[in-house]
Amino acid sequence: MNVVAKFEIPYYQCLDESSILHGNLPDSVKDTKQLVKLYRLMVLLRIFDTKAIALQRTGKLGTYPSTRGQEAVFVGMGAALANDDVFVPYYRDVGTLIQRGVKLSDILLYWGGDERGNCYHKDSEDFPYSVPVGSQPLHGAGIATALKIRGEKRAVLVTCGDGASSQGDFYEALNVAGAWKLPIVFVVSNNQWAISVPRSAQSASQTIAQKAVAAGIEGEQVDGNDVIAVCDRVTLALKKAREKNEPVLLEILSYRQSDHTTADDASRYEPQGIREKEWLKEPIGRMRKYLEAAKLWDEEKEKALQAECSVDVEGVVKEYLNTPPQSPESMFDSLYAKLPDIYLEQREQLIQKEIVAHG
């Protein structure tokens, strides 16, 4: 017998569960301003998240997927992206999108049931959330193909959850990224749950990162409660993609400190006590403790930040709630570049229906 292939999957962590930094700060995150910025964004994200859930509970927002406990994953990725990279998100990526020029009020607008929340800003090439789980890695690979054809030194970052890693499209995307050497980074945000199905039932694979091996690309695990490690590993992976056309799969490990969405009740399936145990590794407290030890943060700054974020989020909510509604005919007006004449009659009927309904 000859062994024809062997592999290993590295695991990266900078700041451990006790907020001890192992080694030096990585080059991509050594600026103290950058460290504080990452922390501030995580705090903003959690305050926004709490508010969004409250809005849903009071009937002012539709179904909303919480980001609680996963702040380091999304904030770290957003900080790693270059402006002209292209981002292809999944539905929990609020903390990344806000670093891509997307307004928090637009994120509420989207979850409030309004497609205009996907408009972002007019120059954005980023994709809207892919709702059919796991279909977006292929869009990322297509974007990366276009960037490579045009010889641009840009990269694509595409994200999905651990459940999505069971989809065929996920494997197809990894495979073509390897075969065509595409400038793309795949992130699996492994929060241990796909609605009610735990990671252990999703796949017998020891890690999700090792799914890269069969595609001939690199795979690694990153501590997703460590914003420094996330930011650094995604930064390095994007650099590799941009400069060498070497795709990478990052499995970023965290824990979903919430129901799947506001339409879910995790108490029906989540073992008791696990969330509390996982909370000990939670990213915001971990980073705060580190910043305080490094004399970059204190109670006073914390109070000021909390107050500032609350005011900001109230402003965002006001802007969201005051957004004028779309016209009824908007449901036709972006269907095609120019609506074929044959559908004008239905569009007119819809307008009349609205007049009668509110008449």
Binding site: E115, N118, A144, G168, V176, A179, S334, I342
Partner: protein, 326 residues
């Protein structure tokens, strides 16, 4: 100028547009060196190179998903699926993403992709190589479904489809790929989408069809002419959006309509055309609308497929029914 076949007209249109527009990129299984299983992309790899003529790994959903991402970046991908029977893994990508991305982003992103695939029975191919399932695409808002039926229309409609800013399902009747030759000037002139083509003007009965069935329908019209019946033949060409006005105007003139399609009858596109004639043209009709279609069964394997495809005799019988209705 030499006459060319329908499949050669496809190649000619692809080459013309690739020379003119550097954003046009071809991708699919075996489209490179092999020139595609029907040779529709023959010679394009040599002329345009492997960046623009891309042999993909074997995964149809991937082909569609890649094309969507490429198109969002401003490329104009022409994606080939080897046979329509293999397009279904890509259905999710086409329906959930290609058809919706413009609407979802209120026009910020778009999907100018042409999804090409041979379709239809009659070439003695293996199982799963003979389906005509255009209706499952015609049902989807945001898509166009285009079917050529001659070399000239293949050339003109493919150019129009590539230039169209929205996704087009371009169905090439494989039975007609090498059936007839025709002179097709390589002048880059597109034909209009979203309109029917009246292939033959007549006064007694309207025959509505598309794709490979145009062949049998034109033959039936010839036979009818000898019998003194003047048939108008309409090639629908763009199945979605459907140009019902041309069909209604013809039915107003003739008072009789037979719809011919190769696809299974139930929920076929013929049902929609018939319903629209009933809704808006009932007063023109001197006889109920008739349909001549494939059967509501799985397209049989090679030995029985000829029995499945509607023939001229069936068309003539349906015309007799509507002519003699009283």
């Amino acid at each position: 100028m030499a006459d060319i076949t329908l499949v050669e007209a496809i190649t000619q249109a692809l080459a013309y547009e690739m020379r003119k527009d550097k954003d046009v990129v071809i991708l699919g299984e075996d489209v490179g060196k092999d020139g595609g299983v029907f040779r529709a992309t023959l010679g394009l790899l040599n002329e345009f190179g492997p960046e623009r003529v891309r042999d993909t790994p074997l995964a149809e959903s991937m082909i569609a998903g890649l094309a969507i991402g490429m198109a969002a970046q401003g490329l104009k991908p022409v994606a080939e699926f080897q046979f329509m029977g293999f397009i279904y893994p890509a259905y999710d990508q086409i329906v959930n993403h290609a058809a919706r991305i413009r609407n979802r982003t209120r026009g910020r992103l778009s999907c100018p992709v042409v999804f090409r695939t041979p379709y239809g029975a009659g070439i003695h191919a293996p199982e799963h190589h003979s389906e005509s399932t255009e209706a499952i695409f015609a049902h989807i808002p945001g898509l166009r479904v285009v079917v050529p039926s001659s070399p000239a229309r293949a050339y003109g409609l493919l150019l129009a489809s590539i230039r169209d800013p929205d996704p087009v399902i371009f169905l090439e009747p494989s039975r007609l790929y090498r059936w007839a030759k025709q002179e097709v000037p390589d002048d880059g002139k597109a034909l209009p989408l979203d309109v029917c083509f009246t292939l033959r003007v007549g006064t007694d009965v309207t025959l509505v069809t598309w794709g490979a069935m145009v062949k049998e329908t034109l033959a039936a019209a010839d036979t009818l002419a000898k019998q003194g019946i003047s048939a108008e033949v309409i090639d629908v060409a763009t199945i979605k959006p459907l140009d019902i006005e041309t069909i209604l105007a013809s039915v107003e003139k003739t008072g009789r309509c037979v719809i011919i399609h190769e696809a299974a009858r139930s929920c076929g596109v013929g049902a929609d055309i018939s319903a629209q004639i009933a809704e808006r043209g009932l007063m023109f009709l001197q006889a109920p609308v008739q349909r001549v279609t494939g059967y509501d069964t799985i397209v049989p394997y090679a030995r029985l497929e000829k029995l499945y495809i509607p023939n001229e005799k069936q068309i003539l019988a349906a015309v007799t029914n509507v002519m003699e209705f009283a």
